[in-house]
């Protein structure tokens, strides 16, 4: 004490599993020195349901509802990724109308997921529920569209191997255009409220900086990677469902902090609106799906199919042994892998920063734990 200044003693703070801003049952064992985080250890698995083992016992079609329940905030994208992987494995073609419907649904899913992500992220910075309520309001309209087409709001189970399960109803297109017309002022409103908000900026600027090298090396994907300045979007890099036909841009951040990730998500929503408008304008006729046997038996082999889900690269690695069910079913969960860099991003900041960083990663515990 005499010459060493104030001697402090670090102690362990358990953030979670029951905590308002861990977005589920996630736990961070943070070693803190006062307000400063000096170490962070992730503990997860509270929601582990062993989806991969369960999927080995069911047919390829029966597995589609499982994918809904991994990332329950973007079930359409999950269905899409899985169906694409199986189609690639079995060599099934999808009709043009089916592809366009898939694009519309996946982009609506991105809109709803990103609006939720931004809302909860701002909630984590301490806004008293207002942005999350606004986000939920807009998300409700999108979920209404899902209910109109698939009959379910959250776990849609809409995509099928070879297309989609139902054709779009007649009322869908005017309703979708109405929702898009609502979304544009909402995005402007959110942008005005948050990007001009000095408190929000000081809370997120230079917080949780993920350098470009670390982002690449730690397998980050999606807005995490783009926020760090890597223009990588599977929709552009390896287009699926005819994404090459649509005109859109990839937003990338400046230095990889939480604010950049927020900006990227906000701009991606604008781009999604643009894509949906193009898809609705050029919606082709014809069948929405090809006939595929219910117990499809793909040839022996393996495939890694991937899509750009709202959280990043969602990959499905399937190994087939010519049986009716996959021999191996592996999900590459973007939320789990984006968490890899959590320790590097939180250590050195305060507890409040750690919460903001966790919010900016946008994890869904159903996908992290599976």
């Amino acid at each position: 004490m005499s010459s060493g200044g104030i001697k402090t003693e670090p102690f362990i703070l358990n953030i979670g599993p029951q905590h308002p801003s861990t977005h589920g049952v996630f736990r961070v064992k943070a070693t803190v020195d006062g307000e400063r985080v000096i170490d962070a250890e992730m503990v997860m698995g509270y929601l582990h349901r062993s989806m991969e083992k369960l999927a080995e016992e069911r047919t390829y079609t029966q597995n589609i509802p499982f994918t809904d329940r991994t990332d329950y905030l973007s079930s359409m994208s999950n269905n899409l990724g899985y169906c694409l992987a199986v189609e690639r494995l079995a060599g099934v073609d999808v009709p043009a109308r089916g592809n366009a419907i898939r694009v519309i649904m996946a982009e609506f899913q991105r809109l709803s997921s990103h609006s939720m992500a931004i809302g909860t992220f701002v909630n984590d910075t301490g806004a008293w529920q207002t942005p999350v309520m606004w986000s939920l309001r807009e998300r409700e309209y999108i979920l209404d569209l899902f209910e109109m087409t698939s009959g379910a709001r959250l776990t849609c189970n809409y995509m099928r191997i070879g297309g989609v399960s139902f054709d779009l109803p007649k009322e869908f297109e005017p309703a979708a255009r109405k929702v898009l017309a609502r979304l544009k002022p909402y995005l402007d409103e959110m942008e005005g409220m948050l990007t001009e908000n000095e408190i929000f900026i000081v809370r997120t600027r230079n917080v949780g900086v993920l350098p470009q090298e670390l982002a690449i090396n730690s397998s980050a994907s999606g807005p995490m990677l783009r926020g760090s300045g890597v223009p990588w979007d599977i929709r552009k890099a390896e287009p699926y469902c005819g994404y090459e036909k649509y005109d859109f841009e990839i937003p990338i951040g400046y230095q990889g902090d939480s604010f950049d990730r927020f900006l990227v998500r906000l701009e991606e929503m604008r781009q999604s609106v643009k894509i949906i408008e193009q898809a609705l304008d050029g919606l082709p006729g014809g069948p929405h799906s090809t006939q595929v046997p219910l117990a499809i038996r793909p040839p022996k082999g393996e495939v890694y199919g991937r899509v750009e889900s709202p959280r990043g690269e969602l990959g499905y690695y399937l190994v087939s042994d010519e049986g009716p069910s996959p021999y191996r079913f592996h999900i590459r969960p973007p939320a789990l892998i984006n968490l890899s860099a959590l320790r590097a991003m939180t250590v050195g900041g305060t507890i409040a920063d750690a919460i903001v960083v966790l919010g900016s990663i946008d994890i869904v515990l159903g996908e992290v734990d599976r």
């Binding site: 582990h48 090396n217 397998s219 090459e244 690695y317 190994v319």
Partner: protein, 175 residues
């Protein structure tokens, strides 16, 4: 413009050029690397200008009854290319392959996951632990013989019943 997915042959030829003697075999999709030269070859694949596989996208293990495969999906952003690399482990009791965490930090969580669910030990991993299940969970759930383990359909029945019968430890009073 779409991603160039390398065949196993292409990967094998490059890997053989970079690190001679590293490839054990290859097929149409994947190149099988020898475990003892795995880390060296991966490092070469990451840094070489032609391959430039800067990111390990996905890592998972597959149980083939007699052996395990660990599958690495690599991708390059600049060249927009994608490759599948595999390595094999034949020992069912002490399954182990080298860890690629020194090459790609992103392998950390995925190797823990493969260890947790398949029981593949990644030698050289800084902190290999079960991330989803608890330490001491009987068996490895994603192994194909998990359900036919001793004890019938209830996996690890003895351990489970033992846990259930155990008296909870008395609460330690901290003064």
């Amino acid at each position: 413009m779409t991603t160039l997915r390398w065949t196993g042959e292409q990967v094998a030829s490059v890997a053989e050029r970079l690190v001679p003697g590293s490839v054990s075999r290859y097929d149409s999709v994947a190149c099988y690397l020898k475990p003892e030269k795995l880390v060296q070859t991966m490092e070469a694949l990451r840094t070489d200008a032609e391959t430039d596989f800067v990111q390990l996208t996905s890592l998972c293990g597959v149980d083939f009854w007699d052996h395990f495969e660990v599958v690495y999906h690599l991708q390059s952003f600049v060249k927009n290319q994608f490759a599948t690399v595999k390595t094999e482990a034949w020992d069912r009791e002490n399954t182990s392959v080298p860890s690629v965490v020194p090459v790609w930090f992103g392998a950390w969580m995925q190797e823990c996951e493969a260890y947790d669910l398949l029981g593949i030990r990644f030698e050289g991993h800084p902190n290999l632990h079960r991330i989803f299940l608890w330490e001491g969970y009987p068996g490895w759930p994603l192994r194909k013989d998990f359900l036919s383990m001793p004890g019938g359909l209830m996996p690890g029945l003895q351990e489970f019943s033992g846990i259930a019968r155990r008296v909870p430890p008395p609460v330690k009073v901290v003064e």
